[in-house]
Amino acid sequence: MSVGVATAQESQGNEGTRTDQPAIQVDDLWKRFLIRHNSSYSLKIKFLGLFQKRYREKQEEFWALKGVNLHVRAGEAVALVGPNGAGKSTLLYLLARTLRPDRGLIKIRGRVAPIAGIGLGFHHELTGKENIYLNASLFGWSRSDVRAIYDQIVDFAELGHFIDMPVKNYSTGMVARLGFSVSVHLEADILLLDEVFSVGDARFQKKCMEKMIGFRKKGKTLILVSHAKEGANLLCDRACLLWKGTIVSDGGVKEVLKDYKRMTEQKEAIGGQRSAISDSGSA
């Protein structure tokens, strides 16, 4: 089967199979987003902008990641924790290679599964079955490759005969289950999980957890973004706290979660003081 598809360079020989090499190596990674005020894809506005200042696009830089360093050994499970906007998802998209870095280097050894989470790119008019084949081929799989694991995907997603119905008729839970099932069955070496503990009901979440513990036993590398602390605790042996675009704490899950709690409390305390001051000022 020819499934190992790499768009970047692919190494032959033994170098890649050595397990002491990190599966993920991120060195001084910076990612910038341009926040566009007055942004327009319209030709008219772009043209007017040449003459009138108020139509001109103003760009504000937002550095979502500022010098992130992260080395993950093969077989490690790392939880990325941190408040909203800290850069967790940005880092995940960079590892999935859909976003490009502005500075720094990412080196990945092994195939990376599509980001599992709510709503993989499904076409709503196509049936679940057709979507499975389409999604797997995005990952470079041929029809015969998919056929071999098709039943497992459907069973895991618990879709039964609904699989031949267009996805537009699915419930949110069904779509999420199918998306999760497809991305975990693609047998990648590295799995990226974005808030997967919000997929489906409690029972399905338990099943997901078992599946992921199974992955760990198989020696796969897991990167997990989660707000659910129990998930990180159960599954991961390491956590990284992202705070305003940098990793401020890296180590055992318990210690990092403690740091996270402490920093959140500090921030709230400062925020509380400020509001107290402004309250007294207005009084």
Binding site: A6, S11, G16, K44, G104, V112, L126, G140, S142, D189
Partner: protein, 280 residues
């Protein structure tokens, strides 16, 4: 899929500033995604014909209605002095439709698949390319239907028609290039969706489809030659209607336009595609 010793672990190295211009490597990895092309083409066929009673016939009815209207207007009302006008028209119209439908749907090729582009890394040029393959299949089906009534319309067979696949291949390369160019540019300039419609309409009347090139003032012919579609239409019509060997300079133009369009399309697409995930 079983990880065995023979299968090397892929290594990806992503550095800031990579522009994905390594065309040889991209071509290789793109070819390995052939199943994706198959699935995307199948998807479009299913989406287009699912739930419609007439299915593929709808694709024929569009050019057919066009041929009917123009035949009535130009052959009976305006009395255009062209023999076998319906045949003359069909030879141009079906190939124009291939270009025009592919070009106008290319404006949506990237911006409509936002979710896929954000979640998975794959050679994105497959999106416009598979769309052109889909339109090519439509053209081939239309061509087969055309051949079934070819003799009724007064056509006859000629050995020069054996070169039809070559002309088709050249036009295919040309259309792939245009589709890549437009699909990528539309991500950054959404107005193109509307602009393309207008340009296509103008181009239709500036291409000798409903009139022969011989009816335009000889002085203006060099300007007509600037229009890529002129060369393809002239070649198709020479084969299918005039039964004459298309002149060498038309072939040169057809090859030239195909090469320039494909080259420019692929280069611009590779240059812009790393930014798609942020812009769609």
């Amino acid at each position: 899929m079983k990880p065995d010793a023979a299968q090397a672990v892929p290594i990806y190295e992503i550095r800031a500033g990579d522009r994905g211009l390594d065309l040889a490597r991209n071509l290789y990895s793109t070819l390995r995604y052939w199943p994706l092309v198959q699935n995307l083409v199948a998807k479009q066929l299913k989406l287009k014909y699912r739930g419609s009673a007439l299915g593929f016939l709808w694709s024929l009815l569009n050019p057919l209605s066009m041929v009917l209207v123009y035949t009535i207007v130009f052959s009976y009302v305006m009395r255009f002095p062209v023999e076998n006008y319906a045949l003359f028209l069909v030879a141009g119209v079906i190939h124009w439709e291939f270009f025009s439908t592919a070009t106008s749907s290319a404006t949506r090729a990237i911006i409509e698949d936002r979710e896929l582009i954000r979640k998975v890394d794959f050679p994105k040029i497959i999106l416009p390319a598979s769309l052109v393959v889909f339109e090519l299949i439509q053209l081939i089906l239309a061509f087969v239907a055309f051949m079934l009534i070819y003799l009724v319309l007064g056509g006859s067979f000629w050995w020069g028609q054996l070169l039809y696949p070559v002309a088709l291949l050249l036009q295919f390369a040309f259309v792939v290039g245009i589709a890549a160019l437009i699909s990528a540019a539309t991500v950054f300039l959404r107005d193109l969706q509307h602009l393309v419609q207008i340009v296509l309409r103008l181009m239709f009347w500036l291409t000798p489809i409903i009139y022969p090139l011989s009816s335009v003032p000889p002085k203006t012919i060099p300007y007509f030659q600037l229009n890529p579609m002129t060369s393809y239409v002239v070649i198709y019509r020479a084969m299918l209607y005039d039964h004459a060997w298309p002149q060498a300079h038309w072939w040169a133009l057809a090859i030239g336009f195909a090469a320039v369009s494909l080259g420019a399309g692929v280069v611009l697409f590779s240059y812009l595609s790393p930014r798609f995930a942020e812009e769609v």
